[in-house]
Symmetry: C2
């Protein structure tokens, strides 16, 4: 690991200073930097338990997938976020599968499972931090669940479009109805119908392979 | 606390033997037994942070509720289960509200927030156990989410009916369509329509204020 990655790791792990020299050494020795291309998988289900990833650059999407291939996005990870479910085997009682894939070219530090496991057994601060991480992802998932269960679809779609524009830093989104449906765990027809309504109302403009935000205020009002 | 409750607490807390005498004493001193009538609330949102409840007898339902009053059941707690979200204020990053209410007359040991908080800071075993608890509830919620997102409604309803019969120890359920809809985060009309289909197919028999399972095998096949 180069000194940049090392410094990044030290800064990002909140309990670094609570570790003893031995524990810090083991961590530095075991951690490796991994590069991912957009579309690469960081974690492909529960048989894949490489360890915790600390995202250095890029954007990672966590999602679940049904037997029939239906997906829904649970949350996204950015710089300094930690990908937890790639180490889910070390936490007892996790019996679901979260996938993680790079949405843009990404760089991450991998802390292997064995090291994480030892730390959790030795350091109450590490274990406490794991509680916080779990709680944080739990909150993300509950938010998605409340959206899906309780929120009208126009509101969810408006949120999705505004979020996506935010990620991309542009009001023009190159994204198909099919892909939007996949992110939202919905059907393409449902997305197309609602987008057509947004288009007719002048909130967005549809074009082949994407859309453009035309009336940000009205979209925001929907939210 | 009487000796029965004390023995129960010792048996139920998996890290009891890892605590020192002082910690054990503090726990025993602070814990109290609480009785709940069916319908009573154990926990009514995040302003209510009394502590962890260990269920001694009865059945407790955990659920979320929307602004408009729509509910969905997340999981149920039985003897020896621990109600976590009544102590959610001690876990950083939990920003959602889970309600808990007694479904039958219930008895529970309350371990107050302050004691739980101290234990989590002192004992890596306590903190590890909290991780397991969080992960376990997370798994329950992911299961509900996958059901809601990915599963057809007939299958969900069949699962609900079979589970409910299991809880009640009877094939005759006194439950309204309205209540079933509430548990499943659905609308009464949707439930009624599907129940009528189950009835017409001879899988259940509907009567005023309830239903009876007539063909357990076909219901199970649906699942």
């Amino acid at each position: 690991m180069d000194s940049e990655a090392l410094g990044f790791m030290r800064d990002t792990i909140p309990f670094w200073n609570k570790l003893n020299i031995e524990q810090q050494k083991n961590l530095v020795h075991a951690a490796v930097v991994k590069n991912f291309k957009a579309g690469d998988s960081l974690h492909a289900g529960d048989e894949d338990c490489s360890g915790l990833f600390i995202i250095m650059t890029g954007r990672v999407r966590a999602f679940i997938i049904s037997e029939t291939g239906k997906e829904i996005t649970l949350y996204r990870l950015f710089e300094r976020d930690i990908c937890l479910f790639s180490a889910s085997c070390i936490i007892k009682n996790i019996n679901f599968e979260v996938m993680a894939e790079a949405e843009t070219d990404s760089r991450a530090i991998l802390i292997p499972t064995l090291i994480v496991n030892n730390l959790l057994k030795q350091s109450v601060e590490a274990s406490e931090y794991m509680n916080e991480l779990l709680a944080s992802r739990f909150s993300d998932v509950m938010w998605v669940m409340e959206q899906v269960l309780f929120m009208s679809f126009d509101r969810r779609l408006a949120i999705f479009i505004l979020e996506q524009a935010n990620f991309e830093g542009s009001d023009t989104l190159k994204i198909t109805h099919e892909t939007i449906a996949r992110h939202m765990g919905s059907a393409r027809e449902v997305v197309s119908r609602m987008l057509k309504y947004f288009n007719d109302e002048g909130m967005v403009e549809l074009f082949r392979g994407g859309l453009k935000i035309k009336d940000r205020k009205r979209l925001t009002d929907l939210v």
